[in-house]
Symmetry: C2
Subunit: 365 residues, 2 copies
C-alpha cells in the first residue's frame, strides 16, 4: 500500500475541525458517504485518512491527510485533483504542502537542466544570474531586437520576453524569435559573452507545437512558460522531450495553494528549471517569509529532482541588487525589467550597472 | 481600435483606489512604468485604461478596465493572461466579469450542443434533466457497469463517471468505457429509454487523444471534463472537433475569479454544454445569489454563444428535487450521486424516485 501526504490549512472552529478534516478526506477521495460504500477494501485502500490535526493559529488548523497514490493514476491531472480538485472551491481551505512517496515521485522528472544546467548553459558559476524582460508588448520584432541587442551588449545573462508577449500580430512568434536571436548572437559576437534569449511560449497544444518547431530551428536554448496559463498537464508533457531550459512564470497561478508550494515545489516537480515569483517589497504583497519558503522549496534537496533556480521579480530595481543577493544567496537569478527600461537613452549604462552590481554583490554574501 | 472590458473587485482604502486601479491597468497590459514607454502609440493603443471606479461595499471597489483586444492575441492563454494573469497573485483582487467585443468574441464558438443540443441528445424537452455519478473510485469496470446498468434501468438521463475516476489501474479507460457503454445500451434496450454515459476525460494532450479515440470507437456521445485540470487552452482546442457534448466539472477552478464568471461564463465561452457547480446548501459554501448568478451566466443570451445547462451538485438529495427545480427552473440538470448510492440494495427504487420527482416537479414551476 502506498500513500501520499497532503497538508492543508483549514479555517474552523475548534469544535468542528475533526468533522471538517474527515469531510475533506472524503471529498478528496471517494466523494460519497463511507457508510454507502459496499466494498470494505475501498474504505481500507482508497478512502483518504486524517493523519493529524494541529492548531497553528487563531481558528486555523494544520491538517495532514494520507491519500492512496493509486488514486492519482500517476498522472498530473489525477495528482492535482487528489491534492486540490474539489477543495479548491472551498475558500477556507489552503493547500500548503504535499509529500510524494518514491513510487509516485518516480513518475516525475522535475527540471531537466536545474540550477547546474542553467549555470552550464550560461557559463556563470560564481555569481547570481541576471535576467531582464523585453517590454512593452506592442513593440515590433525589430524594436524588441534592438532592446535585446542593448541588453546583451550590457552583459545580461538572460533576456526574456515580457510574459504578456504571446502571439500578437504586432510581434508574431516566428519573426520575433528570428530577429531577437540574431540580435543577441551579434551582441555575443561583439562582447565575447553568452547572453541567451528566452521567448514566451503560450498557446493551445497545436500553437505550442508550431512555436517550438520555430524555436528549435532558430537555435533557442531556453523558453519562458507560464505553466498555469497553458495547463499543468500540457506543460509536464511538453517538458518531456523539450531539450531547452524552462523559466517558469507565475501568471494565473494565484489560487489558494501556498505560493511556496505552487511556484516552488509543484512547478519544480513538473519541470521548471527556474521559477519567477513576485519578490517581497515589489508590486505584490508576498512576505519575506513566503519568498524564503518559496526559494527553499525550489532549491532544497529532493530525491532525484534537480533544484530549480529562484527568480525574485516584480518591480525590482538595480538599487536593490545587493539586498536581494544577500537575502537569496548565490543560486538566484535577478530579474530587473522596467527599472532598466526607465533609463531611456542610458539603457546600456543601466544594464551594465546592473550586471556589475550583481558581480560585485558576491563578495558581500 | 477594439477594446474588451474587465471588471474587478478590489479591496482598498478609498484614498488609494485610484492609484490601485491605475497600477492594475499597467500590470495587466504594458507591465512597466508608462513614463518609460518611448512609443506614444503604445500608450494610446496598448496600455489598459481605467473606465470607472465605484464603491460597492465597505472597502471594496468595482473597477472596470478597458484593454486592447489585440493584446489577447485572440487565443485562450492571451485572454486569460490579460484578464487575470499577474493579478491572480494579488489576493485583494477578484475578477468578477468581462465583456468581449464582437471582434474578439468571434474567436470563440462556445458550447457546440448547448441546452438545445443536450435536450435533443437525451430526447428530454419538457423537464429538467437528471444525472448521477458512478462512485466510488476503486470499483472495477464490471462493478461500475453494474451500477450504470441500474441507474439506466431507473431512467436517469446521464450517468457520468465520478470526476475522480481518471485513468487509474483499477478501472482503465478502455475497459471501463466499453463495459459501461454496453451495460447502458442493454438497459436502454430493456426500458426503451435513452440514458447516456459520460466518461471522465483527463490527462495530458497525448492521453486525451488516446482516450478520445477509444470513446469515439465505443460510441460515446457525451464526456465529463474539468477544464482547469487539463488546462483551458487544451480544453478549448479539444472541443473544436470533438463532436460530443461536454459536461464541465469545476475541479481545481477555485481561484478568486467569481464562480459565476469562471464556471458560468468562461467555461461556456470555451465550450462546456453543461456546467456542474456546488449548489447552495450542499457540501460547499456557495450562496443562493452566487448560484443564481452562475446559472444566469450559463444561460443568458450572448451573441452567437449557445446557452449552457446549469448542473447544481455537491451533496444534493432526492428530497430536495422540488426545491432545486423551483429555484433554477426547467433548463437545469439535477445531479444526485452519493444520495442515490446510499440506498444500498434499493438503488433502483431510489433512482426511480429521483427520476419521478424531477418529472413531477415540472407542474409546480
Amino acid at each position: 500500500m502506498h500513500w501520499l501526504e497532503a497538508t492543508y490549512h483549514i479555517q474552523s472552529n475548534p469544535g468542528d475541525i475533526e468533522a471538517r478534516a474527515e469531510a475533506l478526506a472524503i471529498e478528496q477521495s471517494i466523494e460519497m458517504p463511507p457508510s454507502a460504500v459496499r466494498q470494505p477494501e475501498i474504505l481500507r485502500e482508497i478512502l483518504a485518512r486524517v493523519e493529524s490535526i494541529a492548531q497553528v493559529g487563531e481558528g486555523i488548523f494544520r491538517v495532514v491527510l494520507r491519500m492512496a497514490t493509486d488514486t492519482t493514476a500517476f498522472q498530473v491531472p489525477g495528482l492535482i485533483n487528489v491534492l486540490f480538485g474539489n477543495c479548491s472551491l472551498q475558500e477556507d481551505i489552503e493547500l500548503v504542502d504535499f509529500h510524494l512517496p518514491p513510487s509516485l515521485l518516480s513518475a516525475f522528472s522535475g527540471p531537466r537542466f536545474g540550477i547546474a544546467g542553467l549555470r552550464q548553459l550560461t557559463n556563470v558559476h560564481d555569481r547570481p544570474l541576471t535576467c531582464t524582460a523585453l517590454k512593452p508588448q506592442g513593440l515590433s520584432p525589430t524594436q524588441l531586437a534592438e532592446l535585446a541587442y542593448t541588453f546583451a551588449l550590457g552583459g545580461i545573462d538572460i533576456v526574456k520576453d515580457d510574459h504578456g508577449i504571446t502571439n500578437q500580430h504586432f510581434a508574431p512568434f516566428a519573426h520575433r524569435v528570428r530577429a531577437i536571436m540574431r540580435a543577441v548572437a551579434q551582441a555575443n559576437a561583439e562582447t565575447g559573452l553568452n547572453t541567451h534569449y528566452a521567448p514566451m511560449l503560450a498557446g493551445s497544444p497545436r500553437t505550442l507545437r508550431d512555436n517550438l518547431q520555430i524555436a528549435r530551428k532558430e537555435g533557442v536554448r531556453m523558453v519562458l512558460v507560464a505553466p498555469m496559463l497553458i495547463g499543468l498537464p500540457v506543460f509536464h508533457e511538453m517538458v518531456e522531450d523539450l531539450g531547452m531550459a524552462v523559466l517558469g512564470h507565475p501568471a494565473f497561478a494565484g489560487n489558494r495553494m501556498a505560493p511556496a508550494l505552487m511556484l516552488g515545489k509543484l512547478f519544480r516537480l513538473l519541470g521548471t528549471d527556474a521559477t519567477i515569483f513576485p519578490n517581497y517589497g515589489g508590486r505584490f504583497a508576498y512576505s519575506t517569509q513566503t519568498c524564503m519558503d518559496l526559494a527553499q522549496a525550489a532549491r532544497a534537496p529532493w530525491a532525484h529532482i534537480h533544484p530549480s533556480l529562484p527568480v525574485p521579480a516584480g518591480g525590482m530595481t538595480v538599487e536593490r541588487v545587493e539586498e536581494i543577493v544577500g537575502f537569496y544567496g548565490l543560486d538566484t537569478m535577478l530579474l530587473v525589467g522596467g527599472n532598466l527600461l526607465a533609463a531611456g537613452d542610458h539603457l546600456l549604462e543601466r544594464t551594465q550597472a546592473f550586471v556589475q552590481k550583481v558581480a560585485a554583490s558576491v563578495e558581500k554574501i
